[in-house]
Subunit: 356 residues, 2 copies
């Protein structure tokens, strides 16, 4: 019940241990195609260029940015926590000039704030924002942002690491051009892959680059030949075969439950937890909280690390501490995928009560 | 029996399916430390900065290069196959001016050729070479190269993807400053991690950089706080937990067999295969062949892809086709880790005879 990895169901642990096929074996290519198709379904997109990057969530962030940005480009990044800040660092490493719009941690951006950022930096090629800030528990409403950006000729890049599979993520409807997530949060798969998706608009901009991507490993101009079947499935690098088995099973579980039902379950579990935490006198930090990550203030005079340690040692429950400006001041309680269950919540509430 | 992934032993498939711990869980940190210590043993190094990169072998290559090179640097790369060429591409993406020394595919470099390269490009910061060229099956002798480079003030970077765990790799004795490998070759682990190691000399040069690494995901200046315990195990990214379980088990198996015994087994199996292939009239392409990858010419008039397909469909054996200039002209037969067995070799020879 930390900020991830979440609990991995036995079916997925069974799937990950299947014999390792070759990365060009026709049977494996079939599994990979099925995996990409299911990623499309959970992202609610028709984007052809949708695949799992061979690295954890942060490799997904880097994949989006190294392929869309090059030296001379301008980019806007909205920062309200650790991961917006990382996006800025990453954009700068791509050689872009970055305009950061910062608000206090825990707050979310209004549509007006997006409009102001676009008006202030009309030459920006891209705007990046975090849908679910894992460091603060804030949910960002993305409605209307895509139209605003497209009218200004900008690309819309989104971090969905802590939302995919737990909150609604509507890539096509919201006009998202590039998005990444992780497997170990609301998909309840072990960490090791990052599902990404690029719109045709994004592909056009990538094809118009005048320099190579700064990363060879994450260069989509080569990866797309392997993942989308163009160019005869050309070998690029050896994919993490067993991790793909795991992700395929995890996505199958998500779709068996049904995306809408799964999102509703995350909301119900969040409400149950919120109710209990408030009865214990704990206050939520963000105005607009995620269901999947619940960030609350540690009461005055409480040694937060000691309590986390006791929860782990005595009750076998992991919760997260604060990150960045919230270090030592917050707890982060995950309700992600398999972990978002009534039993977990009731146990945690009882254990927390005992510790406090 | 292709160029990798090799057959994964059941013990490793069992290990990979253990419940997913948190990446900051003390138990997991212990597993990770054990894994790093075993990587040191198979690399025969005392280097503190030795860890598994969270990506496949090519992410290891990129880790070495993005951390050691920056714009304005010069670098030398020795090219005798696909992977030397990739190293060149990668070095250029780091902003370095690259001097390539090319010889025909299948050949290996003499110590004189290294000396000439160093003399011709005295300002180079690094020389990169592939120990085991997976595209041609050529083994590169590395003896004496380290001294030559260090006398000239250069760093020695090595690709050991297809040698680690099958051929002798002596990082400290050979004066290697930066090295990477993959898990899915002679370690017989699923693909997904890349064991790397950096010498103190390499760390000094990294600390003297004037720009940030072009990759955030692979930035060793941040990763070392997590992997070597400095800075209180600071969170950087979520490590691929279950893959680390698998690598830990794979390394334990290597060390139980014993490095010397394992290397001797690869040599014996190579001799058995070579003998049989020659009796079938097949000729080795490289002068100085790897034991772990056997690259032979396809006889005139034979449809090589059809034979590979038949081996897979009728005999359940995978071998590799040629890469690059050898596409359609060569077969690549792996004898890596678990796959390097008498039973496999006898079955393949009989099957190949039937197909030819």
């Amino acid at each position: 019940m930390g900020p991830g990895p979440s609990t991995v169901p036995a079916r997925i642990l069974q799937a990950i241990s299947a014999p390792t096929l070759g990365h060009l074996d026709p049977q494996y290519i079939e599994y990979m195609d099925e995996t990409c198709e299911m990623i499309r379904q959970v992202y609610r997109t028709q984007n052809a260029l949708t695949f799992p990057v061979s690295g954890t969530g942060m490799a997904g962030m880097e994949t989006i940015l190294v392929n869309l940005l090059e030296p001379g480009d301008e980019a806007i990044v909205m920062i309200n926590g650790v991961f917006g800040g990382r996006m800025k660092d990453n954009m700068e490493r791509c050689g872009a000039t970055v305009h950061a719009v910062e608000i206090p941690w825990g707050k979310s951006f209004s549509l007006d704030q997006f409009a102001e950022a676009v008006a202030a930096h009309p030459k920006a090629k891209m705007l990046g924002v975090v849908h679910a800030e894992t460091s603060t528990g804030a949910l960002q409403d993305l409605g209307g942002v895509g139209d605003l950006l497209h009218d200004a000729g900008m690309l819309f890049a989104v971090d969905a690491v802590t939302s995919l599979g737990g909150h609604d993520v509507r890539v096509d409807q919201w006009g998202i051009d590039a998005i990444y997530s992780g497997t170990q949060k609301c998909l309840s798969c072990p960490p090791g892959l990052s599902p990404v998706s690029f719109s045709d608009r994004a592909i056009e901009r990538m094809e118009a680059r005048s320099t190579k991507s700064r990363s060879w490993y994450l260069d989509v101009s080569m990866l797309k030949n392997y993942y989308t079947g163009g160019g005869g499935r050309a070998y690029h690098h050896t994919a993490p075969i067993n991790m793909v088995y795991a992700l395929r099973e995890a996505l199958a579980i998500v779709l068996e439950e049904g995306l809408d039902a799964r999102i509703a379950r995350h909301r119900e579990m969040h409400e149950l937890l919120r109710d209990g935490l408030q009865k214990l006198g704990l206050c939520y930090i963000p105005d607009h909280s995620l269901c999947t990550l619940n960030c609350v203030t540690v009461p005055e005079g409480v040694d937060e690390a000691a309590i986390r340690r006791r929860l782990l040692d005595e009750f076998d429950i992991e919760i997260g501490g604060g990150l960045g400006v919230f270090a030592g001041k917050a707890w982060r309680i995950g309700l992600m995928g398999e972990s978002a269950s009534q039993k977990n919540i009731l146990t945690l509430l009882a254990a927390l009560e005992a510790c406090l």
